[in-house]
Amino acid sequence: MEFLGDVVAFFADPANWTGSAGILTRLMEHVLLSALAVAVAGLVAIPAGVTLGHLGRGGFLAVAVVNVGRAVPSFGVVALALPITIRLGLGLGFWPTFLALFLLAVPPMFTNTFAGVREVDRGVVEAARGMGLTGRQIVTQVEVPLALPVIVAGIRLAAVAVVATATLAALVAWGGLGRYIIDGFAQQDNVEVVVGAVLVALLAIATELAFSAVERWGVPRGVRRATVRTASAP
């Protein structure tokens, strides 16, 4: 119980919240880099998924991306990103973390977008074509809106995975909430380890809940499904 008291005391001390190594700074580092990685990966993965899904090409690619994405350990990706960015002269900290998180965010968004667009009822697409919609209009006015729930689910999967993996960023000299866990291990300070673990766990759960809420309320009623299909298991 004394241990739990120490953990609570850590959170209760305002000095631990502010400053360049405070909880708020670490939280901002964690969230900003995660958001940036998901956004940039989305700019690549979602248009690619929409295009290939619309053309009906690259189904094998979507399957391969899921399987590879699942088999590659994220820890290994973070670790390997470091020598790559050093080789490129980009150094420690931000770039290896960003590179790793970007690579991890692409597969779920690409696959879900591809599957979502591909699985739009062909009858609806045919009807749109019969009404005289051009290919571009079919994409923007029919396929993407109907695929939206699945696309948003893909963004959720990517965001949760990225927030989780950003914890490992402390290993390549970036900050983030993983700092507490890694430094705690190094200094054999279990209070710091548990503080970090609690913060990281809460952030991951908050991310999941936030995106679930977007899925539930941010998607137009007309295209909502009873249960949102997630094409790739997280």
Partner: protein, 222 residues
């Protein structure tokens, strides 16, 4: 930044790999043991939880809620939470690894049984099957493809997560990844990463073979 000034070494140094084959073999075995143990315990717990959920439906919500939270907590945080209690031990690693398998396994077990067509159930009952016999001889075999799909995902995920346990002093092939990271020696990172992917792929392929042997009727559906 002295490390930036070093002369670039080749990304993969084959001589290092050649000189450490014993070490690599030992860590691969350790990786498989950590994975196998987690899957075995995960399956046992998941079977019990699924039986409970199928027998007593209101339990399914709380079960998926708890295992869903476990699944959402980042692996390093989950391991870290248990370090003060169980130390930097195999037990800590296994608690985390088992925790990650549960949601995938339970969800597919319950969904598999739920997916058995009602007409099949009625036929079985009409033929005089008891509930228990119908469950084990009709429902479970028909649910096997879905259950196996979950098991494959859990297996591949666990192989990847084992690498993270290097940070709590275990790790199997993750040991090489961590040491390569700490010593700026990419060869070790690549060995750990590539072998982990190979292990996951081989395991997945093996499970597909096992599933085909167990459910020969599913082949005909292509």
């Amino acid at each position: 930044m002295t490390l930036l000034a070093q002369a670039p070494q080749p990304f993969v140094r084959w001589d290092w790999i050649g000189g450490h084959l014993d070490d690599i073999w030992d860590r691969t075995v350790e990786h498989l043991v950590l994975t196998g143990l987690a899957l075995a315990v995960g399956v046992v717990i998941s079977i019990l939880a699924s039986l409970l959920a199928l027998r007593y439906r209101p339990a399914y919500g709380p079960i998926t809620w708890v295992t869903g939270v476990l699944y959402t907590i980042p692996s390093l945080a989950l391991f870290a939470l248990f370090v003060p209690i169980t130390g930097l031990s195999v037990l800590t690693a296994e608690i985390g690894l088992v925790g990650y398998t549960l949601l995938i396994l339970i969800r597919n077990m319950v969904a598999g049984i739920d997916g058995v067509p009602e007409s099949v159930r009625e036929s079985a009952l009409g033929m005089g099957y008891t509930r228990r016999r119908m469950f084990w001889q009709i429902e479970v075999p028909l649910a096997l493809p879905v259950i196996f799909a979950g098991f494959r995902i859990a297996a591949v995920t666990t192989v990847g997560l084992v690498t993270v346990t290097a940070l709590i002093g275990q790790g199997g092939l993750g040991f090489f990844i961590l040491r390569g990271l700490n010593t700026f020696f990419p060869t070790q990172i690549i060995v750990g990463l590539v072998l982990s992917v190979v292990l996951a792929t081989v395991l997945d392929f093996g499970l597909v073979m096992v599933q085909r042997a167990l459910t020969p009727w599913a082949l005909r559906r292509g």
